[in-house]
């Protein structure tokens, strides 16, 4: 049993009651909602004649189905229009704040929470979306929930949960050239497996994590769920506080100083007990890509795709499926694998710093003629800030489409989808079969810089050798 970790502290601070089932009822500090998983929950509330208990602690946005091209209303896609209208109606009636498309604050739910300062350390944060783990970057206890639980939260501002074990993942050393937070998390999933985190919450620490920016920590925590962990977090520190100070939902002045003391108090104690500790040598991590159909099928860019006999017995069958679907074979590297689409965006890598780093790689170069390349900023604010910095110019001039904010091709619920068996180099988080809108589509996950390099060369490319090549 863990003791004295941030997870334990935040859990205790939010514990309402232990239920007869043995589960704990936890108070929810921030409830984020979007259009795909909430309408059924509002429907259930109506059926039971219940009202939203704490509308002030709920915040809505629209991200999954929203078009990223033409946004004029009604949307051309009738189903998308219906979903947005339903959300608008639900939030209006309940008095829930809504970062809708007209506000300039709309975006992917896991991008807007942090950027508005809604996400703060020591909170419990839930959302009907598995990548809620992202908010753990701030030292919040944040996890995805299903729609019946959304109903619970709307009606009672609580969730029923069982406490989990805490695994500390200590990333030591120093990252090498071309290695990003995305490569770190892909390597962790590769190491521990896509189900390695089941039953655990991940606490990330160590030199590499401590020196990461908030954006990088968000990328890291975001993909905890791909490793099977429902939540992942980083203890709050100076970096966290600097990011938060001045954001509109954060208190100011003396109250902010007081709040910092509180945040320090809920951080993991120096002598905290963990259920498990894993050390990852950050210096050994290479720029990484996926080669298969689960986010655990990862190789360093210069490494070869493993053969079935190199894998644990329970991973062989999925590997066979992956060779078949991706058209790859053991012994090959992913370097040189041809792509059709380059997708820059998502709650993993759709923030300003991601776009900036990608633009730096891109400047003065051109997208390969056979590649359809798009940038989908994580939020309207990210988009505006990128435009203010002139990044959109760099992307457009190189041949990237510059689109409106949303989830887009991360899951292909709007018009941005793969066709047939197209290959996408994607900065998103899931390479499941069918994830990007086509059941035969193929996804190679990588960092935004690597997506950009692939867009230029038309194939999966080692960022380290690419950067040396002078742009034309």
């Amino acid at each position: 049993m863990s003791d004295g970790t941030l997870y334990d502290h935040v859990w205790d601070e939010h514990l309402v009651e232990t239920l007869p089932t043995g589960q704990d009822q936890l108070f929810v500090g921030l409830h984020l909602i979007h259009e795909v998983t909430s309408p059924q929950a509002f429907g259930m509330l109506r059926e039971r004649e219940l009202e939203v208990a704490f509308p002030e602690q709920t915040h809505a946005t629209v991200d999954h189905i929203v078009p990223t091209g033409d946004r004029s209303r009604p949307f051309q896609d009738g189903a998308a229009e219906t979903m947005l209208e339903e959300l608008e109606e639900n939030v209006r009636k309940a008095g829930i704040r809504f970062s809708g498309p007209e506000t300039g604050n709309q975006g992917i739910v896991h991008v807007i929470g942090p950027e508005q300062g809604l996400t703060q350390p020591g909170m419990t944060i839930v959302c009907g979306d598995s990548h809620t783990a992202t908010h753990g970057a701030f030292g919040a206890l944040a996890f995805g929930i299903g729609t019946s639980q959304i109903r619970d939260v709307l009606a009672t501002q609580s969730v029923a949960m069982e406490k989990q074990a805490v695994r500390r993942i200590e990333v030591t050393g120093e990252l090498g050239e071309g290695v990003t937070a995305k490569d770190v998390v892909l390597s962790i999933i590769r190491e521990l497996g896509t189900d390695g985190g089941v039953g655990y919450v991940y606490e990330y620490g160590g030199d590499v994590v401590e020196s990461m920016s908030m954006h990088e920590r968000m990328t890291l925590c975001n993909m905890s769920i791909e490793g099977g962990a429902r939540a992942g977090y980083v203890n709050p520190d100076k970096t966290t506080y600097e990011y938060l100070e001045g954001r509109e939902a954060v208190t100011t002045g003396d109250a902010f100083e007081e709040r910092k003391a509180y945040w320090d108090s809920i951080s993991s104690d120096p002598d905290a007990t963990y259920d498990d500790v894993v050390e990852i040598d950050g210096s050994a991590i290479k720029p990484s890509v996926t080669w298969g159909i689960t986010p655990g099928q990862v190789v360093g860019i210069t490494e070869t795709i493993p053969a079935p006999e190199d894998l644990p017995a329970d991973k062989r069958e999925t590997a066979e499926q992956a060779y078949d679907h991706m058209g790859v074979a053991p012994g090959q590297t992913m370097e040189g694998y041809e792509i059709d689409v380059a997708f820059l965006g998502s709650c993993t890598n759709g923030r300003l710093s991601d776009l900036r780093q990608a633009a730096e790689v891109l400047e003065g170069r051109e997208v390969h003629p056979d590649v359809r390349a798009m940038v989908v900023p994580g939020s309207q604010r990210v988009k505006a800030a990128a435009e203010a910095a002139g990044l959109d110019q760099i992307f457009r001039e190189s041949g990237f489409e510059w689109r409106e904010a949303g989830c887009s091709m991360c899951l292909g619920m709007n018009e941005d989808q793969l066709e047939g068996d197209e290959v996408s180099a994607s900065s998103s988080n899931r390479n499941f079969i069918g994830r990007q809108g086509s059941k035969d589509g193929r996804t190679v996950l990588m960092s935004p810089q690597m997506v950009t390099a692939a867009a230029v060369t038309g194939e999966v490319t080692d960022i380290r050798s690419f950067e040396e090549v002078k742009p034309v």
């Binding site: 239920l19 299903g146 029923a160």
Partner: protein, 215 residues
């Protein structure tokens, strides 16, 4: 409740207490079957869960022939036997909703992804686990005996098929919630509303003005 004909929706909510479920079985083989396979996201552009049953494993059904869901022998099945890490991926309750509305009332597997498992519980669907060999035996047995019932006894934590009864694992809170009929947590938690308000009051980041009166 019994399995439904022709994959038609079983839209009525399950009974409050779920001490056991039984019916004919359906094997879905493979590890790491993710929620995008269980229900592709393009079918989630809906504002209710009604009718989702027809989209369960939609892309696999056209692909492999015959996918178990398309196989006549399993049309009326209500117990699904799966392998490891079933339901990995997104938090979409659409996934268990689609299975339930196709006719599934309980799952036996090697392991389940956590959110998926919680979502199943929220719908009153038991998810019990056993080792890989046993799951394969059960899957084989179902193939050989598609018309025979298989029972998940939640109360006793056993699965029975043919002449065999085996012990399975089920976590305590799931077992209690299902057998006592407390898996629908809204009412239970609503009853503690005073304590919820107290909790809110004790947290530095919640303004008193944001705390509602008892409704």
């Amino acid at each position: 409740m019994s399995g439904t004909e022709n994959g038609q929706a079983a839209d009525e909510p399950p009974a409050a207490r779920v001490p056991a479920v039984s019916g004919t079985g359906i094997p879905i083989r493979g590890n790491d079957i993710d929620t995008d396979q269980i229900i592709p996201s393009r079918f989630m552009k809906v504002v209710t869960f009604e009718g989702l049953g027809q989209y369960a494993f939609y892309d696999q059904r056209i692909e492999e022939d015959p996918h178990p869901l398309e196989d006549d022998r399993f049309r009326t099945a209500s117990i699904m036997a799966v392998n490891a890490n079933f339901g990995t991926g997104s938090s979409r309750e659409h996934a268990p909703q689609a299975l339930m509305r196709w006719g599934i009332e309980g799952l036996i597997g090697e392991s389940f992804a956590e959110i998926f498992r919680g979502n199943c519980l929220a719908l009153g669907l038991p998810t019990v686990t056993t080792d890989s060999e046993t799951v394969t035996e059960i899957q084989d047995w179902i193939e050989a005996n598609p018309d025979e019932d298989i029972e998940i006894d939640v109360e006793d934590a056993t699965v029975s098929y043919g002449d065999t009864t085996i012990d399975v694992e089920i976590d305590d809170s799931q077992q209690r919630a299902l057998t006592e009929g407390t898996w629908d947590t809204t009412a239970v938690m609503k009853a503690n509303f005073e304590r919820v308000r107290d909790r809110a009051q004790s947290l530095p980041y919640i303004e008193d003005a944001e705390i509602p009166e008892q409704r």
